[in-house]
Symmetry: C2
Subunit: 366 residues, 2 copies
Amino acid sequence: MSDNLTLSIDAMGGDNAPDMVVEGVDTALERLTGVSFLLFGDEARLNPLLDRFPRARAVSQVRHTSDVVTNDAKPAHALRQGRASSMRLAINAVADGEAAGIVSAGNTGALMAMAKFVLKTLPGIDRPAIATYFPTRRGESVMLDLGANVECDAENLIQFAVMGEVFARNVLGLENPSVGILNVGQEDLKGNQAVKLASQGLMNAALPLHFHGFVEGDDIGAGTVDVIVTDGFTGNVALKTAEGTAKLFGHFLREALTSTFTAKIGALLAKRALMTFKMRIDPRRYNGAMLVGLNGICVKSHGGTDGVGFANAIHVAVDLISNNFNESIKEDYEKFRASSDPDALKDNSEPTDTNTPDGSGAVANG
Amino acid sequence: MSDNLTLSIDAMGGDNAPDMVVEGVDTALERLTGVSFLLFGDEARLNPLLDRFPRARAVSQVRHTSDVVTNDAKPAHALRQGRASSMRLAINAVADGEAAGIVSAGNTGALMAMAKFVLKTLPGIDRPAIATYFPTRRGESVMLDLGANVECDAENLIQFAVMGEVFARNVLGLENPSVGILNVGQEDLKGNQAVKLASQGLMNAALPLHFHGFVEGDDIGAGTVDVIVTDGFTGNVALKTAEGTAKLFGHFLREALTSTFTAKIGALLAKRALMTFKMRIDPRRYNGAMLVGLNGICVKSHGGTDGVGFANAIHVAVDLISNNFNESIKEDYEKFRASSDPDALKDNSEPTDTNTPDGSGAVANG
């Protein structure tokens, strides 16, 4: 990847900052040329670190601030009180045109609130969403929203669909990515009003978007679709449930492979294969949640990550910038609006009791 | 387990019915005494099967009907047209006092609709829920609702909490089970109105129920609480996401362990340990979703299960009956109502924009 671009870095965000941030910048440079960095944070801590990483030092500029947004800060508080924080100044650099995008491993709520306030949303996009990509049986998929919006209407879900499709096409490099809406069943009559209307809207749109229809929780790992659209409540629970299940599975596997002498020998012989397996599900490889729908590229690294993970978040930001992610969203969303009837998304139905025996509320688990 | 009780069986429900049903009855009898069965279904198919399983034959009575609820039948249609179906007649037997409970591997939506219509709900319970238990790092937990109610208010969630707690105590045998509400963060201000009000209601109740507070998706596998309470939309997605992740993980592991000659030898040596691991996460062990809140015991077996899985669903039904599950729910829910202020659960707040920078809508993923 070779580009002449500048990234703005919140050098103080994250559990292991600023050490892992500088390390991450250095690691990212193994695969990047033409990228320079503005590091916002405490120069007394950053300068000695940069001395240890001359490759990072050569393309970085430190912008000093001693103010930091803490992990437990409420977003509204951070927005009011954190005007001189490393996170806020790093976002400002994007708004001012000094940087093409920003990466932070800090407080997600504060980052979203500040980025929305400073950068604003893209034309036509009401609410930004948090998106990430993850391994599936068929490759990689992207899911959004992962928690920015606890409640979503059909219009929000459609905007997420358009943004997710652009991401899959431009960043994952998929040619005609399929899009599914997460639901409790695949039939049209299943689910709440928002998913039903969003599904109808996407089916009726003349947009060249490959809409698969509804998908269920087990379709996430199966890779049934390339883009999974959902509200922030469900998406957040689904993502964390998947993480928790992977951890549980890993725990059971470790217990089994250390349970007897023969199992230990077997595990030793299969060590290289087990390492490959471990790498394949390494969360650091999938580090870098995108705050999509903002008028500027904003990538959130996992707060507990290390240098390797932070480097991956930097790569995600560079990919989004190089592929004109936001310009594509704007174009595609305009196409969608031009091709669809906005009134079709309004909920004109009578309120329904989802638990009536008409079964709209009863879903199979068998 | 030794009881004098009769179970009513929908012998035609499920992908592999009636074969796996009769096999399941026979397998269940390995660990049951004093239990007899009413098998509802096609006698021309059931009698030859029973001839092959004399142990099952000895304690079973066939009640002939040729009518069946299909897997794709809409619940409302099944309710109207399926009055002579094996599923409906099996439920009727519980209402008539002929059987103490019913097990079916058929269409979940139809089963819920019919059971609710025929058996009615327990006093004080507005909506039945689907509950199941599953393995965690600390043992076993129960989660509900898994899809009966797409939208739930605070009162519904509290009823689920009471029912889940009774289940964990009486069936899982836990002494003081902890209860958590699934949310997108652990802080009080996170989440939608229903989870916030339900949490307040459970905190303020004088019920001797160990309410932990909010939990997140990764707490499910970690076993942070014994009972996980959620609406049917989120619960269904979470359960299926966990299943899908486990499958994906198993797929990656199989690929790794067959990738090289050495890995294959290693896997061979660790075979016994890997089998134990596989058994530990065998979904058949956790087969048997309870339709809780009904005035009668109703267990739903997974539609695609085999005889081993169906036998486990029978054991779940026997456990629920032997432990007076429904009587305990009635008592505990009355205690809860007596100890709490019903008006406290009403949503009197102003509608809020969950996406405002006050952060109530923005959750951390890092």
